[in-house]
Symmetry: C2
Amino acid sequence: MTAAETSVFQSAFRPGLPPPAPRFTGLPRYNFVYGHNDPSQVPAHELADAASAVLNANGHLLGMYNLGQGPQGHKGLREFVAAKLGTRSGIPCTADDVLLTSGSLQGMDLVNGVLVGPGDTVILEEFTYGGAISKVQRLGAKVVAAPLDGDGIRMDALRRILERLRGEGVTPKYIYTIPTVQNPTGTIMPLARRHELLNLSREFGVPIFEDECYADLVWEGSRPPALYALDPAQVVHIGSFSKSLAPALRIGYLVAQWPVLSQIIGTKTDAGSGALEQMVVAEYLRDNFDTHVTELTATLHGKLETIVDALAQEFGTAVEMFVPKGGIFLWLKLPDHVDVRTFAQAALQQGLAFNPGPEWACDPEAAKSHIRLCFALPTKEDIRAGVAELARISFEHTGVPERSANRARA
Amino acid sequence: MTAAETSVFQSAFRPGLPPPAPRFTGLPRYNFVYGHNDPSQVPAHELADAASAVLNANGHLLGMYNLGQGPQGHKGLREFVAAKLGTRSGIPCTADDVLLTSGSLQGMDLVNGVLVGPGDTVILEEFTYGGAISKVQRLGAKVVAAPLDGDGIRMDALRRILERLRGEGVTPKYIYTIPTVQNPTGTIMPLARRHELLNLSREFGVPIFEDECYADLVWEGSRPPALYALDPAQVVHIGSFSKSLAPALRIGYLVAQWPVLSQIIGTKTDAGSGALEQMVVAEYLRDNFDTHVTELTATLHGKLETIVDALAQEFGTAVEMFVPKGGIFLWLKLPDHVDVRTFAQAALQQGLAFNPGPEWACDPEAAKSHIRLCFALPTKEDIRAGVAELARISFEHTGVPERSANRARA
């Protein structure tokens, strides 16, 4: 018997828990997983100055939960979020409409907490953030996949799904969408389709859960207004500074009309999110967000070009790339006969980490040939070396790609 | 119809949600609620220096989730926690045994998450942290109250409870205890009773959930080793820097043997706690914790003396005080015929906030004459004025106290 089996806790554990975590053994040499960002782009010295300024001025406020500013969090940061949403996402709102959260993940937990229970149904994009799928499944709810094309959710398919569910007497709890730089496909839903989506939401009485985690990292041009901007009564909106500033800062936000927001706040039992991070980020972002995001986006776009080039060189015609319109992820597909799960573990053991498509799909089999690569963390050199390593390992296990850099393998 | 009633969300909300939050309208004039601390004791300038130093040196690490240091959090802070637990709580452990959490509240959620489900039973101290009660109740579990005396849980009573439950075929999921500066009664469980408690834990196969949130704020002398120190196989241990440093920093920790800790980490879906706070606090505490806690404790003890004196003056023999051995709370009792709920709302409307005993009791009726006062936030002047106000409002509604400062009221 192991220690766990003899422990008083072992018999007390709830049934159906996820597997225990392994010991952390360090980061892989070539790291294309999660939403890590480019460490060189973290404005460390500016954050240091901001931290010094706000702590010297207002550090004593840390003696009170939420700085004494109430359960929605730091007033100044909420004001910044409201202003940013107005400028960038077309959302007219004030600090009173904003709840600061511990990353957008807490936003997801809070929305699920007020809406989703065992036996409920939610509609997710067929390929989407893996955590969105697993959180819903852990709550005992059913996931229905909405098919995507290059403009996001296909409205003809969504209507058929909603009609089918209505026929079964089911009203889904929400339609979860990442309309602006979709994860993992990197698409941006055009304005006309946003209106179509809201029409369906109203017609079938299904709320929309809008996630704009990556929306501040668009390569070029303007983006359509957020769904929340177009009809706030139908939508709850979340976002984050994890991708636009730094993921180890756990600062996200949730925006909703007061009847929804007050219900969500009423369920919170965490005594607020870390206020030091809120103070520092509010101080830094007030004057620097636009400049920072412009520079960061240019850096990320450069890395995207590198990874696209490297994949073309190493995989040639064997790879189909869904080149994103912003963000930090590249979604790609190998030939249909390739199941990327067959070499994900082997790659990890050789120091290369990627997200197998099945982890980012409502139906894992539908994405068995897909891979999601986060290109933000590695240097350009490591991107090239890592992609070459990916090709080598993939070939070893699947015979794909047969040719790299115009040379036959093996 | 209100906006909420017409909203698409209204029909989607889960049944049985807590009531929506009211709009935040500022802090009460006399604030004796929650676990706020003394703002003048927050080492703002030292934290500013620490923040500046760590961000300039390592700010770029914020570009990676958890600073690239794995799901247990900032390595340096975990090392500090382990060293502090060794020195102060008698717990031999290393950074590998520590999980950093977003306050001890997340620690509670994580422990409940792996152990407590609908229909389960847990044993709580009869008077305890209100959130411990409500979190368990929201999970659909039953609460059984363990009677207290001046040394914590009464072991004779606990044995009878465990025997009764065993007779009913029930094994409680845990016994939750705050053995070192109990909330709200302020007692410290002596060593001999700690051993008795562990004996019962082993005999009946019930894990112990030990909360040491206040343990670093003991007025004088040494305190007995933590329960976890005495038998780590039977105990999961949580603590926090909310009370010893600042509550708006959400930094707590959880310590358990690996079979338990790995199971808990396996259920985490928040991508870690805020790393900037961890970096800053690690830098500050490494060289300053002992000095800071000594000064803070002296300040808090001075405020305790003030509130005890003020209560004696304003309430005379009408108040029974449970003078704590540390911490930030004073638990008191008015005569049996007084129900403090009859004037809590009126007090709040007049700018005075206190925690009615029933919110801190497994059986609300058993604490209807009790009040918990947090004395850490108000100045000594506000403590005196606030207690006078409390006496005035209490008298208006209950006729108690009849005399204040040796003068008859009314």
